[in-house]
Protein backbone atom coordinates (compact mmCIF):
# COMPACT_ATOMS: atom_id res chain seq x y z
CA UNK A 1 0.00 0.00 0.00
CA UNK A 2 1.41 3.45 -0.88
CA UNK A 3 2.72 5.45 2.06
CA UNK A 4 1.82 9.10 2.30
CA UNK A 5 3.29 11.65 4.67
CA UNK A 6 1.00 14.43 5.84
CA UNK A 7 2.66 17.38 7.55
CA UNK A 8 0.47 19.60 9.70
CA UNK A 9 0.95 23.36 9.62
CA UNK A 10 2.69 23.12 13.01
CA UNK A 11 5.21 20.64 11.58
CA UNK A 12 3.77 17.41 13.04
CA UNK A 13 4.30 14.57 10.58
CA UNK A 14 1.99 11.61 10.01
CA UNK A 15 3.06 8.73 7.76
CA UNK A 16 0.20 6.37 6.89
CA UNK A 17 -0.63 3.63 4.38
CA UNK A 18 -3.40 4.63 2.01
CA UNK A 19 -5.15 2.07 -0.22
CA UNK A 20 -4.80 2.52 -3.97
CA UNK A 21 -7.89 4.11 -5.48
CA UNK A 22 -8.59 6.21 -2.41
CA UNK A 23 -8.03 9.94 -2.51
CA UNK A 24 -5.24 11.68 -0.61
CA UNK A 25 -8.01 13.39 1.38
CA UNK A 26 -9.49 10.06 2.48
CA UNK A 27 -6.08 8.89 3.63
CA UNK A 28 -5.99 11.81 6.07
CA UNK A 29 -9.60 11.95 7.19
CA UNK A 30 -9.92 8.21 7.77
CA UNK A 31 -6.69 8.15 9.80
CA UNK A 32 -7.82 11.05 11.97
CA UNK A 33 -5.02 13.33 10.79
CA UNK A 34 -5.95 16.89 11.74
CA UNK A 35 -5.84 19.74 9.25
CA UNK A 36 -8.06 18.41 6.48
CA UNK A 37 -11.81 18.79 7.04
CA UNK A 38 -13.32 17.58 3.76
CA UNK A 39 -16.85 18.10 4.97
CA UNK A 40 -18.37 17.17 1.60
CA UNK A 41 -16.66 13.79 1.65
CA UNK A 42 -14.77 14.32 -1.58
CA UNK A 43 -17.39 15.73 -3.93
CA UNK A 44 -15.26 18.80 -4.75
CA UNK A 45 -17.99 20.87 -3.13
CA UNK A 46 -16.43 22.48 -0.07
CA UNK A 47 -12.72 23.32 -0.63
CA UNK A 48 -11.78 22.26 2.90
CA UNK A 49 -9.19 19.63 1.92
CA UNK A 50 -6.55 22.04 0.58
CA UNK A 51 -2.95 20.77 0.68
CA UNK A 52 0.45 21.80 -0.68
CA UNK A 53 2.08 19.05 -2.70
CA UNK A 54 5.81 18.67 -2.03
CA UNK A 55 7.73 20.06 -5.02
CA UNK A 56 9.37 16.71 -5.76
CA UNK A 57 5.92 15.15 -6.27
CA UNK A 58 4.11 17.78 -8.30
CA UNK A 59 4.73 16.08 -11.61
CA UNK A 60 3.36 12.76 -10.39
CA UNK A 61 0.23 14.18 -8.76
CA UNK A 62 -0.50 16.38 -11.77
CA UNK A 63 -2.04 19.81 -11.46
CA UNK A 64 -5.53 21.04 -10.68
CA UNK A 65 -8.05 21.15 -13.50
CA UNK A 66 -11.56 22.46 -14.13
CA UNK A 67 -13.77 22.63 -11.05
CA UNK A 68 -10.85 22.10 -8.73
CA UNK A 69 -8.95 25.09 -10.13
CA UNK A 70 -11.87 27.41 -9.70
CA UNK A 71 -12.59 26.14 -6.17
CA UNK A 72 -8.92 26.66 -5.26
CA UNK A 73 -8.99 30.16 -6.69
CA UNK A 74 -11.09 31.17 -3.72
CA UNK A 75 -9.44 29.16 -0.95
CA UNK A 76 -7.09 30.85 1.54
CA UNK A 77 -3.31 30.98 1.17
CA UNK A 78 -3.23 29.30 -2.23
CA UNK A 79 0.22 28.63 -3.74
CA UNK A 80 1.40 27.18 -7.03
CA UNK A 81 1.55 23.70 -5.50
CA UNK A 82 -1.93 23.87 -3.99
CA UNK A 83 -4.38 21.02 -4.66
CA UNK A 84 -7.67 19.82 -3.26
CA UNK A 85 -6.61 16.49 -1.80
CA UNK A 86 -9.98 14.88 -2.62
CA UNK A 87 -9.03 15.19 -6.29
CA UNK A 88 -5.69 13.32 -6.05
CA UNK A 89 -6.19 9.58 -6.46
CA UNK A 90 -3.64 7.36 -4.74
CA UNK A 91 -1.67 5.16 -7.17
CA UNK A 92 1.47 3.02 -6.72
CA UNK A 93 3.48 5.90 -8.28
CA UNK A 94 2.51 8.10 -5.34
CA UNK A 95 4.19 5.81 -2.79
CA UNK A 96 6.20 8.22 -0.63
CA UNK A 97 4.13 11.31 -1.44
CA UNK A 98 4.51 14.26 0.92
CA UNK A 99 1.79 16.88 1.36
CA UNK A 100 1.62 19.82 3.75
CA UNK A 101 -1.45 21.40 5.30
CA UNK A 102 -2.37 25.09 5.16
CA UNK A 103 -2.83 27.25 8.24
CA UNK A 104 -6.59 26.77 8.10
CA UNK A 105 -9.22 25.28 5.80
CA UNK A 106 -11.63 28.17 6.26
Amino acid sequence: MPKITYIEHNGTEHEVDVPEGWSVMEGAVKNMIPGIDADCGGACACATCHVYVDDAWREKTGTAEGMETSMLDFAEDVEENSRLSCQITVTPELDGLIVRMPRSQH
Partner: protein
Protein backbone atom coordinates in the same frame (compact mmCIF):
# COMPACT_ATOMS: atom_id res chain seq x y z
CA UNK B 1 -13.30 12.12 37.48
CA UNK B 2 -14.10 11.13 33.95
CA UNK B 3 -17.67 10.68 32.85
CA UNK B 4 -19.42 8.70 30.16
CA UNK B 5 -20.85 10.36 27.07
CA UNK B 6 -23.56 8.39 25.32
CA UNK B 7 -24.39 9.26 21.71
CA UNK B 8 -27.73 8.04 20.37
CA UNK B 9 -27.53 7.80 16.60
CA UNK B 10 -24.58 6.45 14.59
CA UNK B 11 -25.01 8.66 11.54
CA UNK B 12 -22.63 11.40 10.43
CA UNK B 13 -23.47 13.67 13.37
CA UNK B 14 -22.89 10.82 15.84
CA UNK B 15 -19.63 9.78 14.19
CA UNK B 16 -18.37 13.36 13.94
CA UNK B 17 -19.21 14.03 17.58
CA UNK B 18 -17.19 10.99 18.68
CA UNK B 19 -14.20 12.21 16.68
CA UNK B 20 -14.47 15.80 17.93
CA UNK B 21 -14.80 14.69 21.56
CA UNK B 22 -11.47 12.86 21.29
CA UNK B 23 -9.89 15.72 19.37
CA UNK B 24 -10.95 18.15 22.07
CA UNK B 25 -9.29 15.92 24.64
CA UNK B 26 -12.29 14.19 26.21
CA UNK B 27 -10.81 11.15 27.97
CA UNK B 28 -13.91 9.51 29.43
CA UNK B 29 -15.92 6.67 27.93
CA UNK B 30 -17.85 7.22 24.69
CA UNK B 31 -20.68 4.87 23.76
CA UNK B 32 -22.18 5.22 20.28
CA UNK B 33 -25.60 3.64 19.81
CA UNK B 34 -27.02 3.03 16.32
CA UNK B 35 -30.06 1.20 15.09
CA UNK B 36 -28.54 0.32 11.71
CA UNK B 37 -26.01 -2.54 11.52
CA UNK B 38 -23.36 -0.21 10.02
CA UNK B 39 -20.68 1.94 11.58
CA UNK B 40 -21.32 5.63 10.77
CA UNK B 41 -21.38 6.24 7.04
CA UNK B 42 -21.80 9.15 4.64
CA UNK B 43 -25.31 9.61 3.35
CA UNK B 44 -24.73 12.02 0.41
CA UNK B 45 -23.13 9.32 -1.84
CA UNK B 46 -26.13 7.01 -1.37
CA UNK B 47 -28.13 8.72 -4.10
CA UNK B 48 -25.00 9.50 -6.14
CA UNK B 49 -21.75 7.53 -6.51
CA UNK B 50 -22.64 4.66 -4.20
CA UNK B 51 -25.91 4.02 -5.98
CA UNK B 52 -24.13 4.26 -9.33
CA UNK B 53 -21.69 1.56 -8.17
CA UNK B 54 -18.74 3.98 -8.42
CA UNK B 55 -17.88 4.00 -4.72
CA UNK B 56 -17.38 0.84 -2.69
CA UNK B 57 -18.90 0.47 0.76
CA UNK B 58 -15.60 0.86 2.62
CA UNK B 59 -15.21 4.32 1.12
CA UNK B 60 -18.75 5.26 2.08
CA UNK B 61 -17.92 4.62 5.72
CA UNK B 62 -17.26 7.87 7.55
CA UNK B 63 -14.27 6.36 9.37
CA UNK B 64 -12.67 2.93 8.97
CA UNK B 65 -13.69 0.26 11.51
CA UNK B 66 -10.27 0.54 13.24
CA UNK B 67 -11.04 4.15 14.14
CA UNK B 68 -13.48 3.08 16.85
CA UNK B 69 -10.89 0.80 18.45
CA UNK B 70 -8.05 3.28 18.24
CA UNK B 71 -10.14 6.11 19.63
CA UNK B 72 -11.88 3.87 22.16
CA UNK B 73 -15.42 4.51 21.06
CA UNK B 74 -17.68 1.67 22.16
CA UNK B 75 -20.17 0.72 19.47
CA UNK B 76 -23.66 -0.59 20.15
CA UNK B 77 -24.98 -1.18 16.65
CA UNK B 78 -28.12 -2.74 15.25
CA UNK B 79 -29.98 -1.78 18.39
CA UNK B 80 -32.34 1.16 18.87
CA UNK B 81 -32.50 3.22 22.05
CA UNK B 82 -36.01 3.13 23.47
CA UNK B 83 -36.02 5.55 26.38
CA UNK B 84 -34.17 8.41 28.04
CA UNK B 85 -34.56 8.69 31.81
CA UNK B 86 -33.39 12.20 32.66
CA UNK B 87 -33.86 11.73 36.43
CA UNK B 88 -31.51 8.75 36.60
CA UNK B 89 -29.46 9.83 33.54
CA UNK B 90 -29.94 6.51 31.84
CA UNK B 91 -30.57 5.48 28.24
CA UNK B 92 -32.43 2.22 27.80
CA UNK B 93 -31.81 0.13 24.70
CA UNK B 94 -34.18 -2.25 22.97
CA UNK B 95 -33.92 -5.45 25.00
CA UNK B 96 -33.57 -3.63 28.29
CA UNK B 97 -29.85 -2.83 28.56
CA UNK B 98 -29.27 0.41 30.48
CA UNK B 99 -26.46 2.89 29.75
CA UNK B 100 -25.64 5.49 32.37
CA UNK B 101 -24.51 8.85 31.01
CA UNK B 102 -22.86 11.95 32.39
CA UNK B 103 -23.80 13.78 29.20
CA UNK B 104 -25.95 12.61 26.32
CA UNK B 105 -25.96 13.57 22.63
CA UNK B 106 -29.11 12.90 20.63
CA UNK B 107 -28.22 12.52 16.95
CA UNK B 108 -31.20 10.49 15.82
CA UNK B 109 -31.50 12.19 12.43
CA UNK B 110 -34.62 11.74 10.39
CA UNK B 111 -36.67 9.04 8.73
CA UNK B 112 -38.33 9.10 5.32
CA UNK B 113 -41.76 10.58 4.93
CA UNK B 114 -43.97 7.72 3.79
CA UNK B 115 -46.81 7.60 1.28
CA UNK B 116 -49.87 6.10 2.89
CA UNK B 117 -51.72 4.91 -0.22
CA UNK B 118 -52.91 1.50 -1.47
CA UNK B 119 -50.09 -0.80 -2.53
CA UNK B 120 -47.32 1.20 -0.83
CA UNK B 121 -46.15 -2.00 0.89
CA UNK B 122 -45.75 -3.95 -2.37
CA UNK B 123 -42.37 -5.44 -3.12
CA UNK B 124 -40.62 -3.12 -5.57
CA UNK B 125 -41.71 0.08 -3.84
CA UNK B 126 -38.64 1.66 -2.25
CA UNK B 127 -37.58 4.61 -0.16
CA UNK B 128 -34.03 5.95 0.07
CA UNK B 129 -32.34 6.75 3.32
CA UNK B 130 -29.98 3.91 4.21
CA UNK B 131 -27.39 1.59 2.69
CA UNK B 132 -29.95 -1.21 2.90
CA UNK B 133 -32.42 0.93 0.92
CA UNK B 134 -29.85 1.47 -1.85
CA UNK B 135 -29.02 -2.22 -1.99
CA UNK B 136 -32.72 -2.97 -2.39
CA UNK B 137 -33.05 -0.42 -5.19
CA UNK B 138 -29.94 -1.68 -7.00
CA UNK B 139 -31.42 -5.19 -7.26
CA UNK B 140 -33.84 -3.72 -9.80
CA UNK B 141 -31.12 -2.12 -11.94
CA UNK B 142 -31.46 -3.85 -15.30
CA UNK B 143 -31.36 -2.28 -18.74
CA UNK B 144 -34.86 -1.54 -19.96
CA UNK B 145 -36.45 -1.87 -16.50
CA UNK B 146 -39.17 0.66 -15.81
CA UNK B 147 -38.70 2.99 -12.83
CA UNK B 148 -41.17 5.51 -11.49
CA UNK B 149 -39.63 8.08 -9.16
CA UNK B 150 -42.13 9.75 -6.87
CA UNK B 151 -40.94 13.24 -5.96
CA UNK B 152 -38.92 15.72 -8.01
CA UNK B 153 -36.68 16.93 -5.19
CA UNK B 154 -32.92 16.43 -4.99
CA UNK B 155 -33.16 12.77 -3.98
CA UNK B 156 -35.62 11.94 -6.75
CA UNK B 157 -33.64 13.77 -9.42
CA UNK B 158 -30.33 12.23 -8.33
CA UNK B 159 -31.87 8.75 -8.46
CA UNK B 160 -33.30 9.52 -11.90
CA UNK B 161 -29.88 10.65 -13.15
CA UNK B 162 -28.14 7.50 -11.89
CA UNK B 163 -30.85 5.16 -13.18
CA UNK B 164 -31.22 6.61 -16.68
CA UNK B 165 -27.46 6.25 -17.17
CA UNK B 166 -27.95 2.53 -16.49
CA UNK B 167 -30.37 2.26 -19.38
CA UNK B 168 -33.43 2.27 -17.15
CA UNK B 169 -36.66 3.80 -18.40
CA UNK B 170 -37.29 6.57 -15.84
CA UNK B 171 -40.39 8.65 -15.16
CA UNK B 172 -40.37 11.27 -12.40
CA UNK B 173 -43.70 12.33 -10.91
CA UNK B 174 -43.83 15.65 -9.09
CA UNK B 175 -47.04 16.80 -7.47
CA UNK B 176 -46.09 20.50 -7.64
CA UNK B 177 -46.12 22.44 -10.92
CA UNK B 178 -42.32 22.18 -11.19
CA UNK B 179 -39.42 20.13 -9.82
CA UNK B 180 -37.42 21.56 -6.88
CA UNK B 181 -40.27 24.03 -6.31
CA UNK B 182 -39.67 24.27 -2.58
CA UNK B 183 -36.00 25.17 -2.94
CA UNK B 184 -35.32 27.14 -6.09
CA UNK B 185 -36.53 29.59 -8.75
CA UNK B 186 -38.79 28.72 -11.71
CA UNK B 187 -35.79 29.30 -14.03
CA UNK B 188 -33.58 26.86 -12.13
CA UNK B 189 -36.40 24.29 -12.06
CA UNK B 190 -36.90 24.68 -15.81
CA UNK B 191 -33.19 24.15 -16.35
CA UNK B 192 -33.16 20.87 -14.42
CA UNK B 193 -36.34 19.68 -16.14
CA UNK B 194 -34.74 20.36 -19.50
CA UNK B 195 -31.48 18.60 -18.66
CA UNK B 196 -33.29 15.50 -17.42
CA UNK B 197 -35.55 15.48 -20.46
CA UNK B 198 -32.53 15.68 -22.77
CA UNK B 199 -31.02 12.73 -20.92
CA UNK B 200 -34.16 10.70 -21.55
CA UNK B 201 -35.99 11.05 -18.22
CA UNK B 202 -39.72 11.69 -18.49
CA UNK B 203 -40.78 14.39 -16.05
CA UNK B 204 -44.45 14.84 -15.17
CA UNK B 205 -45.23 17.78 -12.96
CA UNK B 206 -48.57 18.44 -11.34
CA UNK B 207 -48.91 14.69 -11.02
CA UNK B 208 -49.34 12.80 -7.78
CA UNK B 209 -49.67 9.11 -7.03
CA UNK B 210 -52.89 7.52 -5.84
CA UNK B 211 -51.96 3.81 -5.75
CA UNK B 212 -49.34 1.19 -6.46
CA UNK B 213 -50.72 -1.93 -8.15
CA UNK B 214 -49.47 -5.45 -8.55
CA UNK B 215 -49.95 -9.02 -7.41
CA UNK B 216 -47.39 -9.15 -4.61
CA UNK B 217 -44.84 -7.23 -6.67
CA UNK B 218 -45.25 -3.76 -8.14
CA UNK B 219 -46.59 -3.73 -11.69
CA UNK B 220 -47.99 -0.24 -12.15
CA UNK B 221 -48.22 3.20 -10.58
CA UNK B 222 -51.59 4.94 -10.73
CA UNK B 223 -51.36 8.72 -11.00
CA UNK B 224 -53.64 11.49 -9.81
CA UNK B 225 -54.32 12.27 -13.45
CA UNK B 226 -55.81 8.81 -13.88
CA UNK B 227 -52.96 7.18 -15.77
CA UNK B 228 -51.62 3.71 -15.06
CA UNK B 229 -47.85 3.70 -15.63
CA UNK B 230 -46.26 0.25 -15.92
CA UNK B 231 -43.38 -0.02 -13.43
CA UNK B 232 -40.90 -2.67 -12.33
CA UNK B 233 -39.90 -0.59 -9.36
CA UNK B 234 -40.57 2.75 -7.74
CA UNK B 235 -38.48 5.03 -5.54
CA UNK B 236 -40.28 7.48 -3.29
CA UNK B 237 -38.39 10.65 -2.30
CA UNK B 238 -40.89 13.02 -0.72
CA UNK B 239 -38.92 14.30 2.23
CA UNK B 240 -37.95 13.30 5.72
CA UNK B 241 -39.36 13.63 9.22
CA UNK B 242 -37.10 14.40 12.20
CA UNK B 243 -36.74 11.63 14.79
CA UNK B 244 -37.73 13.50 17.93
CA UNK B 245 -39.82 10.82 19.66
CA UNK B 246 -37.20 9.84 22.27
CA UNK B 247 -36.52 13.47 23.11
CA UNK B 248 -40.22 14.31 23.23
CA UNK B 249 -41.05 11.39 25.52
CA UNK B 250 -38.21 12.53 27.79
CA UNK B 251 -39.91 15.92 28.06
CA UNK B 252 -37.33 17.98 26.15
CA UNK B 253 -38.51 21.11 24.35
CA UNK B 254 -39.56 20.29 20.78
CA UNK B 255 -40.56 22.72 18.02
CA UNK B 256 -40.13 21.24 14.55
CA UNK B 257 -37.07 19.45 15.90
CA UNK B 258 -35.34 19.23 19.25
CA UNK B 259 -34.81 22.78 20.44
CA UNK B 260 -31.11 23.53 21.01
CA UNK B 261 -28.90 26.62 21.36
CA UNK B 262 -25.76 27.58 19.36
CA UNK B 263 -23.81 24.97 21.30
CA UNK B 264 -26.30 22.19 20.59
CA UNK B 265 -27.55 22.17 24.18
CA UNK B 266 -31.19 21.14 24.70
CA UNK B 267 -33.52 22.33 27.45
CA UNK B 268 -31.71 19.81 29.72
CA UNK B 269 -28.13 20.99 30.43
CA UNK B 270 -26.85 17.39 30.41
CA UNK B 271 -28.36 16.64 27.01
CA UNK B 272 -27.21 17.93 23.60
CA UNK B 273 -28.56 17.26 20.12
CA UNK B 274 -27.16 17.66 16.61
CA UNK B 275 -28.10 17.13 12.97
CA UNK B 276 -31.36 16.73 11.06
CA UNK B 277 -33.35 16.28 14.30
CA UNK B 278 -32.63 19.71 15.77
CA UNK B 279 -34.14 23.16 15.66
CA UNK B 280 -31.35 25.67 16.23
CA UNK B 281 -30.65 29.40 16.01
CA UNK B 282 -28.86 29.79 12.67
CA UNK B 283 -26.60 32.79 13.24
CA UNK B 284 -26.00 33.90 9.62
CA UNK B 285 -29.66 33.40 8.72
CA UNK B 286 -30.86 35.25 11.81
CA UNK B 287 -33.64 32.88 12.90
CA UNK B 288 -34.35 29.39 14.22
CA UNK B 289 -34.40 26.68 11.58
CA UNK B 290 -34.20 22.94 11.12
CA UNK B 291 -31.81 21.84 8.38
CA UNK B 292 -31.52 18.56 6.55
CA UNK B 293 -27.93 18.53 5.35
CA UNK B 294 -24.57 16.95 5.96
CA UNK B 295 -22.94 20.33 6.55
CA UNK B 296 -25.36 20.95 9.40
CA UNK B 297 -24.88 17.46 10.82
CA UNK B 298 -21.09 17.84 10.87
CA UNK B 299 -20.78 21.45 11.99
CA UNK B 300 -23.43 21.14 14.67
CA UNK B 301 -21.94 17.88 15.93
CA UNK B 302 -18.54 19.59 16.17
CA UNK B 303 -20.08 22.44 18.18
CA UNK B 304 -22.03 20.13 20.49
CA UNK B 305 -19.04 17.85 21.08
CA UNK B 306 -16.75 20.80 21.78
CA UNK B 307 -19.23 22.14 24.33
CA UNK B 308 -19.60 18.70 25.94
CA UNK B 309 -15.80 18.43 26.17
CA UNK B 310 -15.67 21.81 27.90
CA UNK B 311 -14.12 23.71 24.98
CA UNK B 312 -17.12 25.51 23.44
CA UNK B 313 -16.99 26.58 19.77
CA UNK B 314 -20.47 27.80 18.83
CA UNK B 315 -22.06 26.86 15.52
CA UNK B 316 -22.16 29.91 13.24
CA UNK B 317 -21.53 28.58 9.73
CA UNK B 318 -23.47 29.59 6.62
CA UNK B 319 -25.51 26.55 5.46
CA UNK B 320 -24.29 24.92 2.26
CA UNK B 321 -25.45 22.01 0.12
CA UNK B 322 -24.70 20.37 -3.19
CA UNK B 323 -26.26 18.01 -5.70
CA UNK B 324 -24.57 16.00 -8.46
CA UNK B 325 -26.65 15.11 -11.51
CA UNK B 326 -24.99 13.96 -14.76
CA UNK B 327 -22.02 16.27 -15.31
CA UNK B 328 -23.67 19.06 -13.37
CA UNK B 329 -22.50 20.20 -10.00
CA UNK B 330 -25.07 22.29 -8.24
CA UNK B 331 -23.57 24.09 -5.24
CA UNK B 332 -25.81 26.06 -2.93
CA UNK B 333 -25.22 28.31 0.05
CA UNK B 334 -27.53 30.20 2.39
CA UNK B 335 -31.30 29.86 2.56
CA UNK B 336 -33.42 31.62 -0.03
CA UNK B 337 -36.72 31.68 1.90
CA UNK B 338 -38.21 35.15 1.81
CA UNK B 339 -36.10 36.46 -1.05
CA UNK B 340 -37.51 39.46 -2.92
CA UNK B 341 -35.20 39.41 -5.92
CA UNK B 342 -33.40 36.66 -7.84
CA UNK B 343 -30.49 37.56 -10.12
CA UNK B 344 -29.28 35.31 -12.90
CA UNK B 345 -25.55 35.29 -13.58
CA UNK B 346 -24.28 33.43 -16.64
CA UNK B 347 -26.06 31.40 -19.30
CA UNK B 348 -28.19 28.33 -18.49
CA UNK B 349 -27.79 27.29 -22.13
CA UNK B 350 -24.05 26.91 -21.51
CA UNK B 351 -24.79 24.85 -18.37
CA UNK B 352 -22.75 27.29 -16.34
CA UNK B 353 -24.72 29.86 -14.41
CA UNK B 354 -26.03 30.79 -11.00
CA UNK B 355 -28.90 32.44 -9.21
CA UNK B 356 -28.24 34.92 -6.43
CA UNK B 357 -31.09 35.57 -4.02
CA UNK B 358 -31.45 39.00 -2.45
CA UNK B 359 -33.60 40.22 0.39
CA UNK B 360 -33.83 43.96 0.98
CA UNK B 361 -30.71 44.33 -1.12
CA UNK B 362 -28.55 41.82 0.78
CA UNK B 363 -27.35 38.51 -0.65
CA UNK B 364 -29.02 35.69 1.32
CA UNK B 365 -28.42 32.66 -0.90
CA UNK B 366 -26.85 31.38 -4.10
CA UNK B 367 -27.47 28.34 -6.32
CA UNK B 368 -24.51 27.79 -8.67
CA UNK B 369 -24.45 25.31 -11.55
CA UNK B 370 -20.88 24.39 -12.59
CA UNK B 371 -19.81 27.82 -11.27
CA UNK B 372 -17.56 27.39 -8.22
CA UNK B 373 -16.49 31.06 -8.08
CA UNK B 374 -20.11 32.18 -7.72
CA UNK B 375 -20.62 29.64 -4.96
CA UNK B 376 -17.36 30.33 -3.11
CA UNK B 377 -17.75 34.12 -3.19
CA UNK B 378 -21.49 33.73 -2.59
CA UNK B 379 -20.76 32.08 0.75
CA UNK B 380 -18.68 35.05 1.80
CA UNK B 381 -21.26 37.57 0.59
CA UNK B 382 -23.96 35.77 2.59
CA UNK B 383 -21.85 35.67 5.74
CA UNK B 384 -21.14 39.41 5.33
CA UNK B 385 -24.82 40.15 4.49
CA UNK B 386 -23.30 42.08 1.61
CA UNK B 387 -25.46 44.46 -0.37
CA UNK B 388 -24.39 44.01 -3.98
CA UNK B 389 -26.32 45.80 -6.74
CA UNK B 390 -28.25 43.22 -8.81
CA UNK B 391 -26.84 44.61 -12.05
CA UNK B 392 -23.32 43.98 -10.73
CA UNK B 393 -24.09 40.39 -9.69
CA UNK B 394 -25.58 39.68 -13.08
CA UNK B 395 -22.71 41.23 -15.05
CA UNK B 396 -20.17 38.66 -16.25
CA UNK B 397 -17.81 41.54 -17.07
CA UNK B 398 -17.39 42.02 -13.33
CA UNK B 399 -15.48 38.99 -11.97
CA UNK B 400 -16.43 37.31 -8.72
CA UNK B 401 -12.96 38.23 -7.44
CA UNK B 402 -13.75 41.90 -7.99
CA UNK B 403 -17.13 41.48 -6.31
CA UNK B 404 -15.47 39.78 -3.36
CA UNK B 405 -12.90 42.53 -3.05
CA UNK B 406 -15.45 45.30 -3.14
CA UNK B 407 -18.27 43.85 -1.03
CA UNK B 408 -16.79 41.59 1.66
Amino acid sequence: MSETIVIIGAGQAGGQAAETLRREGFAGDIVLVGEEPHIPYQRPPLSKKFMAGEMPLERVYFKPPEFFETEQVELKLNIPATRIDRERKIVTLCGGEELAYGKLLIATGARVRTLDIPGADLSGVHYLRTIADVEGIQENFAEGAKLVVVGGGYIGLEVAAVAVKRGIDVTVLEVEPRVLQRVTTPEMSAFFEQVHTEEGVKIRCGTGVTAFEGGGKLEAVVTSTGERLPADFAVIGIGIVPNVDLAEEAGLAIDNGIVVDEQGQTSDPYIYAAGDCTNFPCVPVGRRIRLESVQNALDQAKAAAAAMAGTPKPYTQVPWFWSDQYNLKLQMAGLNQGYDEAVLRGDPGARRFSTFYLKKGAVIAVDAVNSPPDYMVGRELIAARAEVPPETLGDLEVSMKEIRQKYT
